[in-house]
């Protein structure tokens, strides 16, 4: 005799699948967006005659917007690189929200913990740099 799956479980499973689909689309979308920024940066590098081995500037978030307005290649490259890094982090956030809606608290804790570890990495690196 086949066991009948309870209705809430079916809803939870379909929500999880929807979250997976959304996460997948998010990853693909962000990846293509980052490629777009990187292509703009590389084209500007070529136009400005910058060699890849000439040594690029470090990231400075406080001036990124003005550098973009000035069409500086490094600014678009940094925007692309940050978007690349943001893609998997965005996927964890989307999954975490989906698990919270399903009241799957263990997975919510795991999602938050992953984000926390990344935040600790940034914090410790900033502390060392300072």
């Amino acid at each position: 005799m086949n066991a009948v799956t309870p209705r809430p479980a079916i809803h939870a499973a379909s929500r999880t699948m929807a979250a997976e689909r959304l996460s997948g689309r998010l990853l693909i979308g962000i990846t293509y967006t980052s490629v777009g920024f990187l292509v703009i940066g590389v084209v500007l590098m070529v136009v400005d005659g910058i060699s890849p081995l000439s040594g690029g500037p470090s990231l400075d978030l406080t001036t990124l917007d003005t550098q973009i307005a000035a069409r500086e290649p490094a600014a678009f490259l940094w925007l692309g690189l940050l978007t690349v890094i943001a893609a998997p982090i965005g996927r964890v956030i989307v999954a975490g929200v989906a698990y919270a809606r399903d009241a799957d608290w263990l997975m919510v804790v795991i999602s938050v913990s992953i984000l926390l570890i990344i935040a600790i990495g940034v914090g410790s690196a900033l502390a060392v740099r300072a």
């Binding site: 997948g24 693909i28 590098m45 000439s54 690189l81 990495g121 410790s124 690196a125 060392v128 740099r129």
Partner: protein
């Protein structure tokens, strides 16, 4: 740099590897970049190829999101540790570690035909039927997927942490550790293990890439063209995969890996 990245991306995609194993030698031996800087750039390329592929796997529901995120927690911890100690280690030691990794991958590829798949553990539903009355699902039940049951989570946790450290130190995705771990040790089918590992690579590399960015370990002028090249190469590689005779490509790749390992050993011994 763009062409080199494209070649690394295509080669990696055709042989089921991330580009990291090729990008670091390309940038250090080919363009004379410091190894740590090459590792930072490689991490960016690894995230990019992983995100594009993982997106497709997630849309098609091949990857096990729940298992992947559980193990990701530990790869992220490993990556945090690895990313922090990477700036303390001598570059010569990193070169030697990378040479050891290349030789390990070459040996694994050479032995690939002799490896026998192990039988998968019966699915949770089959075990439930044998067990009789309904029982509260365990953590392993919740991590299992359709048609298989996850086992040995402890080994997975230790292996995932190690993969995270290796990823952050050497700029690789760590799939070479995670796929065999999930398939051979945890009973996850190979296709699901590959897809789940691919999804995990993004977070593993992102956790250490942020440390490299903040500490000035990534040069945007190098990372931009290389990442675009890898993306284009990986896309082309995935479309060419069924038209290329992988036997000869595999032999060529093993030769390239051994040659590169020798060069890295020499670099480390200087």
């Amino acid at each position: 740099m763009l062409c080199g990245g494209a070649a690394a991306g295509a080669f990696g995609s055709l042989l089921g590897l991330g580009g990291g194993i090729l990008i670091v030698p390309l940038l250090t031996l080919g363009f004379g970049l410091p190894l740590r800087e090459a590792v930072g750039v490689s991490l960016i390329c690894v995230i990019m190829t992983s995100s594009a592929a993982a997106g497709v796997y997630l849309e098609r529901h091949v990857a096990n999101l729940r298992l992947g995120m559980t193990l990701e927690l530990f790869t992220a911890i490993g990556a945090l540790v690895g990313g922090s100690i990477a700036f303390l280690l001598d570059e010569r030691l990193l070169s030697l570690l990378f040479a050891a990794l290349l030789l390990y991958v070459a040996a694994t590829m050479a032995r690939a035909r002799t490896v026998q798949p192990i039988p998968e553990t019966p699915a949770a539903t089959e075990l439930d039927a044998l067990a009789g009355p309904a029982r509260t699902p365990t953590t392993l039940d919740r991590l299992s997927g359709d048609g298989y049951r996850v086992r040995h989570l402890g080994r997975g946790v230790v292996g995932a942490t190690g993969a995270g450290v290796a990823s952050a130190l050497l700029g690789i995705g760590g799939g070479i550790i995670k796929v065999p771990l999930m398939h051979l040790s945890m009973g996850v089918p190979l296709r699901v293990a590959t897809a789940t590992s691919n999804m995990m690579i993004g977070i593993t590399a992102a956790a250490s890439a942020v440390i490299y960015v903040v500490r000035g370990g990534i040069d945007p002028y190098v990372a931009g063209p290389t990442a675009i090249g890898v993306f284009l190469g990986a896309t082309a590689g995935s479309r060419l995969a069924h038209r290329v005779d992988l036997r000869y490509l595999r032999i060529l790749f093993i030769v390239v890996l051994v040659y590169t390992a020798i060069q890295m050993l020499l670099r480390g011994a200087r």
